[in-house]
Symmetry: C2
Subunit: 255 residues, 2 copies
């Protein structure tokens, strides 16, 4: 029955229930297309108003073949939606993480160490996907199935190899695989990021907005520094990630 399913979708706004049910929500045309391509869709909802384009009709046709889809009223849709101007399509999708080897296959590993802001986590996922990186989530980072992260990731969450590890597991795995661990640091005596040789496989760790990389990782990592000329003390963490990831990709392209 769609009422019981609606209740589940509504509950999935809370982290507690996402973790308990191992499900999350994808909303909007583009994200639902990606969910249909890359995820296990459990069920979904749409409003009559959604079906106003050929692209929407096509998506619904595909979805109806893979999972139960319920037409609901705008009022009901507002209850499950997380956006101000809902597009009228929402899917309940199974959470999934990748195997370590899939993360390590990529030319660069991007690790997040207590990155708290959902927008920053989502933007880093989007950038990591665009450049073909693997992602490690360490303790205390924003939950990636949070609707704000899903949205800011622009669907990267569906296609990126992502794994969750403790700090200790991460350090051990990188050591075992011969991957150098780098930490972005506000230390002017550290190596400038563009002087680092990214043609060797590395894992770059980005830390919390307020206090940077955790002591545990920092102590074990090589430090790299982004030289700045203004009066700013630091950069936004998603900005730092973009700068370092793109430099690593540039060096690869230049070989």
């Amino acid at each position: 029955m769609s009422r019981a399913k609606l209740k589940i979708a509504q509950k999935l706004k809370l982290k507690k229930f996402r973790a308990e049910l191992n499900l999350f929500v994808a909303e909007g045309l583009r994200l639902c297309e990606m969910a249909a391509d890359f995820s296990q869709v459990e069920f979904g909802f749409f409003t009559a108003d959604f079906l106003k384009s050929a692209r929407a009709e096509k998506l619904l046709g595909r979805l109806e073949k893979i999972a139960p889809m319920y037409e609901i009223s705008e009022r009901d849709f507002e209850k499950i939606s997380d956006t101000k101007t809902p597009q009228g399509v929402l899917l309940v999708v199974r959470q999934k993480f990748s195997a370590l080897e899939d993360v390590l296959k990529k030319f660069l590993v991007v690790a997040m160490d207590a990155v708290h802001d959902a927008g920053n986590v989502g933007t880093i996922l989007r950038t990591a996907e665009a450049f073909g990186c693997g992602v490690v989530l360490l303790e205390d980072s924003a939950e990636i199935f949070n609707p704000k992260v899903v949205r800011a990731s622009m669907g990267a969450i569906f296609t990126l190899p992502i794994i969750k590890l403790s700090r200790q597991e991460f350090l051990r795995a990188m050591k075992f695989s011969g991957v150098e661990v780098l930490a972005a640091a506000l230390d002017t005596s550290a190596e400038f990021y563009f002087n680092h040789d990214f043609t060797k496989k590395s894992a770059v760790v980005f830390g919390s907005e307020a206090s940077g990389v955790s002591a545990e990782i920092f102590g074990a990592a090589e430090k790299i520094f982004i030289p700045m000329s203004g009066s700013a003390e630091s950069l936004n963490v998603a900005t730092s990630a973009a700068i370092i990831i793109s430099e690593a990709a540039r060096q690869r392209a230049k070989i």
Copy 2:
């Protein structure tokens, strides 16, 4: 009287009144320190609770010498604050733009062409400041005195040379000054951004989240492209800005 001033601070939440009064609001310890250093402070407010650190006491001492400061209740403070957990200090500051020559003195000009999201505009200002760029605001970008932009800029708004120009004025000014205009484009046949020679002075234009750089600017600009290897169609605009600005700075540092 502090009641009338409180009303003004409250009204400044609206763009209309910010434009009318030519004022805006800086909130929190760090932003207020920067406002005191770099801006014309008209008046300000604090709560008893704010004065719990030596740094806060010192700031208030300085502020009291330059502008009327009013102690108000927590309840009144909540009315003027734009944050969930207010720090208890807020200043009303005069809006100011820079002269074109101050923008052009910088090694790189960063122009925003209808960048709508306040968080993106603030983050681009923060990045531009960190690398020592000048900024041009073209039509339809988010208003830089919006509290969300001020916050995301982390104070860059106080120290950056920023000018507002129409698209036509901008193109004419760059031509007149011999500054090449570049547009970040989703065009794989365009020059890769890292192959462009940024040791010559250039102006890079970043466009709207949904539709990129306006036709008017696009037609007159050289296109540069950020090559991507994932399935993403594009990058966040503040991410693209970080990648191109840092590459320009890297090339300068490498001379």
